[in-house]
Structure formats: structure tokens, C-alpha cells
């Protein structure tokens, strides 16, 4: 898809968001949609790692929580204006993830998944215990200032505004990712993912680009967390638990990891479906577990992938995650 077309579609999506905002009168529905969009951004982060590097991370909740805690601590200590803090946190996450990435992207397949699981759990345990810094298991309240980027808090925290902010960020992030992945950088990481050995034999050093993708995915996840922090005003160790990473992975796989749309679809389905289930909501995890199994067995590139193939008139093929 050309840059112009991507840009046009993005503008259209923004318009769509505005329409949704206008027409949805129920604030609880808007709240739920905002939640869905935040998860969608988180899922985009996990998804881009899977798509470009072919790596499955069970520990991305680390960056999700870290951004929130970072924000909470900085605001509590009143080190700098919130606007600057946002920028700094995202940058810090990027750098940290890049350094971590340099070490861990060399680890292949399942071992990488286990590694991210271990790192994530370790940070989770640290957060539960460091009562002084993080408030321990009770979590941390995030005291946003009276105005953010010039807008008063009261206006920002209205459901409609929050939704529009989240939606716009999602469209922006998607656009940036799509653009980045069309560049040479995207080609390099795809080559590494497809055939690491041959990539080296055409002159590509394989660690740096993959660490960069890892850092990118971490930053996207961090963005999602900052939005979540704005939405709820709160962050807790539960945000860091491995089950959060695993569930997001679920969204990505069910939605489809090969396109930017997949994780978004997966996240929206997850949040809305839970509400839809009503009485059966307690069984939602089992249903998603079953959906995950069905998708992996019959349509590994997810719902979006399946739909794409249907539209192209092809029969479903058994292709694997790699």
C-alpha cells in the first residue's frame, strides 16, 4: 500500500472515530470502547514484534506497567512537567528495550518466549515488593496535573474526549508502523525473520535490526500504558503480570498477526465480546482459549488472515507462525 493510500485511509479512520464519538451516547459504552482501543495499541506492540521478528513475547506487560509506574513516580516526585515526562518515559523505554533486545533477540524460538516470561515475572515480583517506591501490591495512583498540553483535566477526562484521544493515537501509531515497515528497515527485518542465515550471506548483521524492532514494540506498548494511566489514573502490579502479556498475545493471534489490522480486531473482539457474553462472561477465558486453539489449528494468520483469504477466493492453507 502506498504512503498516500495509507495516509488517506488513516484520515478516514480518524473521521470514523469522530463519528463513533458523536453517535455513541452511552458513556459506559464509550468507556469500554476506549479500553478496547488501549488494548488494541498494546496488541499492536506485541503484534509488530511477532510480525517483523517472528518472536513471541510473554513479557511485554513489563513495558506496559513500567510506563505507568514511571509516570506515577515522576509525577509524585514532581520532577518535571507531565508533558516532558511522557516524552522522556517513551524514550527511556525505547532505550531500555533496545539494550535488553540486543541481548535477548539472539535467543531462538521457545527459549525467547520463556525468557520474556521470566523477565516479566521478575519485574512483577519486584513491583509487588517495593512498597516504598511503587506502593507494592496496592498499586500507585497517578496524579495528573490540572492541565495537560494546555487542556484542563476536566475536559480531558470526559469519556468522549478520552475515546477520541485514544482512537487518534491508535490511528497515528498504526500509520507510523505501516510507514516504517515499508522502508528498507522493514525489508531488512523481514529478511532476517524469513531466513536468518541467508540474511547474513547477503550482508545483514542480524542483531541490531531485531533489537530495534523489539524497542519499537516496547515503545508502542508504553504508549498504550500511558493512555491507560490517563484513563484510569492508576497502575498496579497486576498490569505487569504475565497473564496480561499472554492475553494480549491471544488477541494478536486470534485477530491475525500478519497485518496491522489483526491485533486491533483481536483487541476489540476481546473487550466487546466479554461484555456481549453477559451471563456467560465468567467463561470468557475458556471461550477465548478455545478460540485460540481453533485459530491456530485452522487459520494461523488469524481472523483477518482468514477473511483476506476468503475475499481472495483461496482455500484456507495450513501455514505456521514462522
Amino acid at each position: 500500500m502506498s504512503l498516500v493510500r495509507t495516509g488517506a485511509l488513516s484520515l478516514l479512520a480518524l473521521g470514523g472515530g469522530a463519528a463513533i464519538m458523536q453517535w455513541t451516547t452511552s458513556s459506559s459504552l464509550l468507556g469500554m470502547l476506549t479500553q478496547a482501543v488501549i488494548y488494541a495499541i498494546f496488541a499492536l506492540g506485541v503484534g509488530v514484534l511477532l510480525k517483523q521478528n517472528g518472536l513471541v513475547s510473554f513479557g511485554h506487560a513489563l513495558y506496559f506497567g513500567a510506563a505507568g509506574y514511571g509516570m506515577g513516580i515522576i509525577l509524585a516526585l514532581d520532577w518535571m512537567p507531565a508533558e516532558l515526562a511522557i516524552l522522556l518515559i517513551l524514550l527511556a523505554i525505547g532505550v531500555l528495550a533496545f539494550l535488553i533486545g540486543l541481548v535477548i533477540v539472539r535467543v531462538p524460538g521457545i527459549a525467547f518466549g520463556m525468557l520474556t516470561l521470566a523477565i516479566g515475572q521478575m519485574v512483577y515480583l519486584l513491583a509487588t515488593r517495593a512498597r516504598g517506591l511503587t506502593g507494592g501490591a496496592d498499586g500507585l495512583s497517578i496524579h495528573w496535573p490540572a492541565t495537560l498540553f494546555g487542556f484542563p483535566q476536566a475536559m480531558l477526562l470526559k469519556p468522549a474526549t478520552l475515546f477520541m484521544i485514544a482512537w487518534s493515537v491508535m490511528v497515528l501509531v498504526t500509520f507510523v508502523l505501516l510507514w516504517l515497515l515499508r522502508t528498507r528497515f522493514g525489508a531488512i527485518t523481514e529478511a532476517i525473520r524469513d531466513n536468518e542465515e541467508r540474511a547474513r550471506f547477503i550482508g545483514i548483521t542480524t542483531t541490531l535490526p531485531r533489537a530495534a524492532v523489539y524497542a519499537l514494540s516496547a515503545m508502542v506498548t508504553g504508549v498504550a500504558c500511558l493512555l491507560s494511566a490517563l484513563n484510569t489514573g492508576f497502575v498496579s502490579p497486576e498490569n505487569l503480570h504475565w497473564s496480561v502479556s499472554a492475553i494480549t498475545l491471544l488477541m494478536v493471534v486470534i485477530g491475525g498477526f500478519k497485518t496491522a489490522l489483526g491485533p486491533i480486531v483481536g483487541a476489540i473482539i476481546y473487550v466487546l465480546f466479554k461484555d456481549f457474553l453477559g451471563a456467560y462472561a465468567t467463561h470468557s477465558m475458556a471461550i477465548f482459549g478455545a478460540a485460540l486453539i481453533v485459530v491456530i489449528v485452522f487459520s494461523p494468520d488469524g481472523i483477518v488472515g482468514g477473511v483476506q483469504r476468503l475475499l481472495k477466493g483461496e482455500r484456507p492453507t495450513k501455514r505456521t507462525l514462522q
Partner: protein
């Protein structure tokens, strides 16, 4: 003094009790096509692996234009103009043909990578398939893509590991002609491992014969062909 583009000396590759290569030497001059033949398991692929850095050397040195690259990784050797194709097709399945060939060219530092890629694709009859995803190509087309990835970027030295494997007689002959033309035009030196004797003896300037990890004959095609030791290695008895 050293006019060789490639000088491999006393190469040995031992692993797990197997001596895949046991003291082998090969030289290549500029613009030369050097054919490498021998029975299966003789060590032909291994010598390419050793020269390109895919396998670790137990012993020996590899000199590229006089520079010792024996301890360098594959990436560094490629950047010095050493390029190779693979016996078992090794391409980027999820990427479009043109995109990956251009990438390979770009990585070699070619200023006009699009043009370079285009030329190579045209030379190998892949230009009409530029937008096709690699894994959707036919077998022969994939073999040519594997070759294209090695050819872009104006390499100095090309190691081809059974490029004709699985190709029809016609396709093999076409490919042989392409190779001869390309090497003449770009002054690329080629080490060609092949089973097809006609092809090898047809286009090579020099032929070396391997058996059990050692060189048993080397020289001009005609004399190698007539060598009784070579005939014995292939036919199992003095023929």
C-alpha cells in the same frame, strides 16, 4: 606477486570424527571459472561452506585478494565481495522477488540498487515475476532467485553450489550460458560445484576433482577428463 582473487590453503574441516575436508587447496584467478567435481560426500559443499564462513575451519587459511579472511564472519566476507548460492534453495519466502533482490544489492553498497537488481533479474528471466512472493514461485524460479541474491552487488567472487540441481536440460544450458556471459562481462571469478559433467567441462577454465575430502586432480578440463585416477573415482575401477 599474489594475483589470485581467492587462495585457500590446507583447508581442513573435522567434526565428530568425520574429516569432511582434509588439507585442500584451491586458487582462483580474476575472471576465471573454476569447476569443482567429485562423488557425493567428497567435500565439495563443505569447501564452499569453509570459504564463505558457514563452517568453522579446523585448519587452514582463506585469502581474498591477499587478505586473510579465515576468522571473519559471513557478513564481513560478503562485504568483501565474496558471494554464494545454496544447494538447498535459500531465499526469503515471505518477501516479493524484487524487494529481496534490491535489498541484497543495497546491502552491498551499490548506489543504484534498483537498477542493479533489475539487470540481474532480467538476466535470469525473473523480471516479470518481480512482485511475486518468493514462496509462490516454482522450483526452477526459486533456484534462479537464490542465484540472483548471490549475483547482485557486483561480487568479485561467486561460489555456486549445484546451481543446476533440479533444472531441466534446457534450463541448465541456458543458465550455463548466462553464467559464462556474466562472468565475462563483469570479470567475476566463479567456483562452480556441479554434477553435470557436460556443463562443468563446457564452461570451466580450470577443473578440480575432490574425493573423500582431498584433491585428486586439478588442471585444464581436457587433461582432468583423461586422468585415470579421476575415472577410477567416478567409476570405481580403472576404466
Amino acid at each position: 606477486m599474489n594475483s589470485y582473487v581467492l587462495q585457500a590453503q590446507d583447508l581442513a574441516v573435522h567434526y565428530g570424527g568425520v574429516k569432511a575436508l582434509d588439507g585442500v587447496g584451491i586458487t582462483l584467478e580474476k575472471g576465471q571459472i573454476h569447476g569443482l567435481i567429485g562423488p557425493n560426500g567428497a567435500g565439495k559443499s563443505t569447501v564452499i561452506d569453509a570459504i564463505t564462513g558457514r563452517r568453522k575451519l579446523t585448519r587452514g587459511t582463506v585469502l581474498l585478494d591477499g587478505e586473510d579472511v579465515s576468522h571473519m564472519g559471513a557478513v564481513e566476507r560478503r562485504m568483501r565481495g565474496l558471494s554464494r548460492s545454496f544447494q538447498r534453495t535459500s531465499i526469503f519466502g515471505g518477501m516479493a522477488v524484487r524487494r529481496q533482490v534490491e535489498l541484497a544489492s543495497y546491502k552491498m553498497g551499490v548506489a543504484d540498487s534498483a537498477g542493479d537488481a533489475g539487470a540481474v533479474l532480467k538476466e535470469l528471466d525473473l523480471d516479470r515475476l518481480g512482485q511475486t512472493i518468493a514462496e509462490d514461485l516454482g522450483y526452477g524460479e526459486q533456484r534462479r532467485l537464490d542465484l540472483a541474491l548471490a549475483l547482485v552487488g557486483r561480487p568479485k567472487l561467486l561460489m555456486l553450489d549445484e546451481p543446476m540441481a533440479g533444472l531441466s536440460v534446457q534450463e541448465s544450458q541456458d543458465l550455463a550460458r548466462h553464467l559464462k556471459a556474466l562472468t565475462a562481462r563483469w570479470e567475476v571469478s566463479v567456483l562452480l560445484v556441479e554434477h553435470d559433467m557436460d556443463v562443468v567441462f563446457g564452461i570451466s577454465d580450470v577443473v578440480t576433482v575432490f574425493e573423500l575430502g582431498r584433491v585428486i586432480a586439478s588442471g585444464e578440463p581436457a587433461s582432468v577428463r583423461a586422468n585415470p585416477r579421476v575415472r577410477e573415482a567416478y567409476l570405481g575401477s580403472a576404466a
